[in-house]
Amino acid sequence: MSQFYTSTDHFTIIPAVMLALFGCAILLFDFLVFPDPRQRKYLLIFVALAEGFTGYALYRQTEWLTANGQTSLTGFGGSVTVDGFGIFFNWIFVIAAMIVAVVSYKYLEISGEHHGEYYGLILFAQSGMYFLATGTDLITLFIGLELMALTFYVMVGFLRTDKRSNEAAIKYLLLGAFSSGFLVYGFSLMYGMAGSTKLAVVAEAIRQRPLWDPVVFLALATTSVGLLFKISAAPFHMWAPDAYEGAPTTVTAYLAVASKAASIAFLLRIFMGPFWSAKEVWEPILSVVAVLTMTVGNLAAINQTNIKRLLAYSSISHAGYMLLGLVAGNDTGINGIAVYVMVYTFMNLGAFLVVVALRRQNIIGEDLDDIAGLMSRSPGYAVLMLIFLLSLAGIPPTAGFLGKYYIFLSLIQTGHFTLAVIGTLYVAVAIYYYFKIVRSMFIRESTEKAPMATSAGLRLALGVSGVLTLAIGVYPEPFLRLAQTSLLR
């Protein structure tokens, strides 16, 4: 350790270091230890170890914060900040990565693309997410974002011989790079105003400028384009349906859950940090964007026949609800976003996992017809899917209700009654298209008889997400306390 790299610095980034280290180890061990492709699932041990160490490091960080009575610990001269917010989001990434890794091997074996580096990519993406949730410096955030995005470009195109996967990858890559161009242009303007890349200094510089300063506005506009793109908010959502549909379903689940959670964390870091003093400027813009996002997501989902595409549009509309929490902007709203992200993780992962189980030899299994008669074929999956869909629609006593409840509560507290009414109306639309899936499962006759592609990992993951989706809805107190720790101020 030296003056450039103290033990405090080390303590603040150790989870990301662990993830990157095990990611590199997987790249090497894939060849050295497991030359036989059938042994590749043993690489899961490395993922489990990496997540174990990461979880332990996060636990140690929490311990340190409570033991010293601090709300945050900064490292690298303020570039990385470990606080309740970052730790909360990182737990979500740990759970999402673990679940996705566990269910992947069967799916990839069936698709004929089971390669060791897939698990490495999951870990690399997660180390990028770590910096998105804990970074408080423009450079750190940018590197975290790109580390996450680049690995996702590769993972979306992982089925090399599949035309849809290629297409999804190139669309995601081109639009993703385009949006990060805008984002980084906004960053350059922020740097120009503040002379520093630290978020705290940038926030101070923006506070001293007039509210409608053109440079602030330009920085806000360009940065928002990049951020809204990443959370797939309208009008920058075009990539999401294609990327979600074309990607391997396990990657879609990871993309829909972990990538979105990390982007929300990033968005909150920027809007609650540098741009907080310009709230009057961005509040109306974000309300329009949120309403537009809910409109596009919910209305476009109605006509979909591909389940992954339908869930993609539904995930766009969920981004709209999360934005509403930021528009409200009080503690209930920000806390509501944390609750929403947590709830969304389990229910959305669960819904995609059922689609993963539908993929069998020679059957793509993504169409509404493929899920027909699921109740008579494998009732367990059908009931779980029903729980996830009810939760996605936001019907009590499932977890989804809780997420929406806090968002609407914060809107009412801050007097945004119109937004609350619009949000509630779209819940009704959402129920309609989720029940298209339910009707297909319970009422229609099964078209083929092939059994579900099940594996021990998949059953475990489905069980965990199903139980948690119900548990958060029925007994929310411990989960709410957990989300409470994530308040940014």
């Binding site: 030296s2 003056q3 450039f4 790299y5 990157a20 590199c24 790249l27 090497l28 060849f31 580096e117």
Partner: protein, 118 residues
């Protein structure tokens, strides 16, 4: 006015006039005896095999991808070289870690057969 740009203007004028003068002078002095052979791209006697805008083998692209990565990563070595004395052994260790990560990638590419010419 930026008087510092006057040398650049002079230089520009010289640079433009040089080829013009040379070509004009050559045109006035040389004997005119055009032939088909003189119009060929190379006068060494070998006919051009194909258009230079044709397709390359895909192998070049893979080499290019690897080159781009390993070439650009050296950017990070230059700042270290500038502050070598200040950073001391810490800098050496840091760069060793950085290179180790690159080498992992290199081993991976090698094992995947990306460097073999097929």
């Amino acid at each position: 006015m930026p008087s510092g740009y006057i040398p650049i203007l002079i230089f520009l004028a010289v640079a433009i006039s040089f080829p013009v003068v040379a070509i004009l002078a050559a045109k006035l002095i040389r004997p005119a005896a055009p032939s088909v052979i003189k119009l060929e791209a190379y006068e060494c006697g070998i006919k051009a095999a194909s258009d230079s805008r044709g397709r390359y083998t895909v192998r070049f692209y893979i080499i290019a991808i690897l080159f781009v990565i390993f070439d650009v990563e050296t950017i990070f070595l230059f700042p270290w070289a500038v502050r070598y004395r200040t950073l001391g052994w810490f800098g050496v260790a840091e760069v060793a870690v950085f290179l180790a990560i690159l080498i992992v990638g290199y081993i991976w590419a090698y094992k995947k057969g990306a460097l073999e010419w097929v």
